[in-house]
Symmetry: C2
Subunit: 291 residues, 2 copies
């Protein structure tokens, strides 16, 4: 069966798979992102991952690569999480297949639109190592003047607050990304903090409340600017379910006086949206070059 070799490069985990044209995942595996070893090592590992997936594919037609940060169709321009700058797409694989490069979160947003039912006026917000948003307006992801819209992870929710890897202070991601939440508590995974907070451990409660409040400030800001119908949280942190959504609904409503809050839900695609989106990137690239 024809498939796209799809890789979703996250800050801690790379999700790879083979994606059929109808969006079915024919194969799926995960590898750690060796970002502590520097961007060159991450690029080499992506290339190795793609080669391994290609060896498994019966009839691969393209590679779809979803990466974080600022991305064009030809270059991974910048990522605070990984530390690369201006990487041309050809550097990511040694394959002879066509390669489609795209933004991880916009790709995930496209997958939500195609497979998750998130149309209309929606913010799709995956929260993992970093936070970015897919701004969906009238059912179409909106890229802005230069394709760089949706950088909600770096909006200043506490203008003189915590330092962020991007060089600014007080960014949403410095409080509410899964990695920031885990780091603040001194553990590997944000899931541990969610558990400890649910059990009432005071330090975990404080860290979690701070993360939820930072998200409430950011979502109130988004709501006031863009009046979405719906906000869909995805990524690793969305697995916290109502531990996240219930207090976030309450705090978001409290931050809005003269208008109602939009609907708030967890993604039905869970942590697979980026991978499915990378598959879509590949399939759409093929469709564009062959028609």
């Amino acid at each position: 069966m024809k498939s796209v070799i799809a890789i979703d490069v996250g800050g801690t985990t790379m999700k790879g798979g083979l994606v059929a044209e109808d969006g079915r995942l024919l194969h799926e595996e995960r590898r750690p992102t060796p970002r502590a070893d520097g961007p060159e090592r991450v690029i080499a590992e992506i290339s190795r991952f793609a080669a391994g997936l290609q060896a498994l594919a019966a009839s691969p037609v393209a590679v779809g690569l979803a990466v974080p940060g600022l991305v064009t169709a030809t270059h991974a321009v910048y990522s605070a999480a990984i530390g690369w700058r201006d990487v041309p797409k050809a550097a990511f694989t040694a394959t002879e297949l066509p390669v489609a490069l795209g933004h991880d979160v916009r790709a995930a947003g496209e997958a939500e639109l195609a497979f998750g039912g998130g149309d209309g006026e929606v913010l799709y917000l995956p929260i993992g190592t970093g936070i970015a948003g897919a701004v969906v307006l009238g059912g179409v992801p909106y890229g802005g003047a230069g394709g760089w819209a949706g950088q909600i992870g770096h909006i200043p929710v506490r203008p003189d607050g915590l330092a962020c890897s991007c060089g600014q202070r007080g960014c949403l991601g410095a409080y509410a990304s899964a990695s920031a939440v885990a780091r603040a508590y001194g553990v590997e995974s944000a899931a541990r903090v969610v558990e400890a907070a649910a059990a009432g451990e005071p330090r975990a409660v404080r860290i979690w409340e701070q993360a939820v409040e930072a998200l409430a400030v950011a979502l109130a800001t988004y709501t006031l600017l863009l009046d979405p119908r719906r906000i869909v949280i995805g990524g690793g942190l969305s697995l916290a379910g109502e531990h996240l959504l219930a207090p976030l609904r309450e705090r978001l409503a409290a931050r809005l006086t003269f208008r109602a809050a939009p609907e708030l839900a967890a993604s039905t695609l869970g942590t697979r949206a980026g991978l499915l989106g990378a598959g879509l990137l590949g399939w759409r690239y093929i469709a564009a070059v062959t028609t």
Copy 2:
């Protein structure tokens, strides 16, 4: 000559005029908004203003009414600046002419688009008694799911900061609206604060810096979310010119690490954009009902 009776209801001043179909202002006058006397008094004054303008018009074809806050085509839903709730449009005038009701800032944004050359991906931001934005995407004002987009004056730039008339804390408007700047310095007009700050008076410098910094936080947020090509400042505060734009450009750039700032300019329509927009509202209403 045919004209629309146009009124732009601001928090301190109502601008009224007769607007020809090509956007020419055939007549213009200003009256204070008696908001200290309560919303009923403001509504009565709007009605009187419209009747006065109608008496001057040779062939009036409609009334165009631009008001602040949350607005639908049939109701002024809410305004923190004026204090009204759910006023039906018929309540604003006793005229037998057709009445078109709209949002002051979106109307001003439409006037910028039609007469000021602000197309593409633009934020149009009039700063007066309050602050709201016209979000222009792909050359078209964007209203959001329910028409309530652009409420940038109430985004939380200092989440635990100054109290705002909307009931929240730390709203942009509480720091950077012309009325907030004037009030903080204890004068009637923000122009006095701009002058005093330019002359180096320490308290004025501090208030002005705080206003500019709050604007920089809000515009960095907008830029990261929506990647505009251009931001156009209008309203009374835009008359400060480079006293506003030069430090704001600097602070906005400083709040953005991994991307360039969009172009920042003052509106060429000055404080007349809302009035011209009210005129457009009337002309478009006529065009829609007669075609």
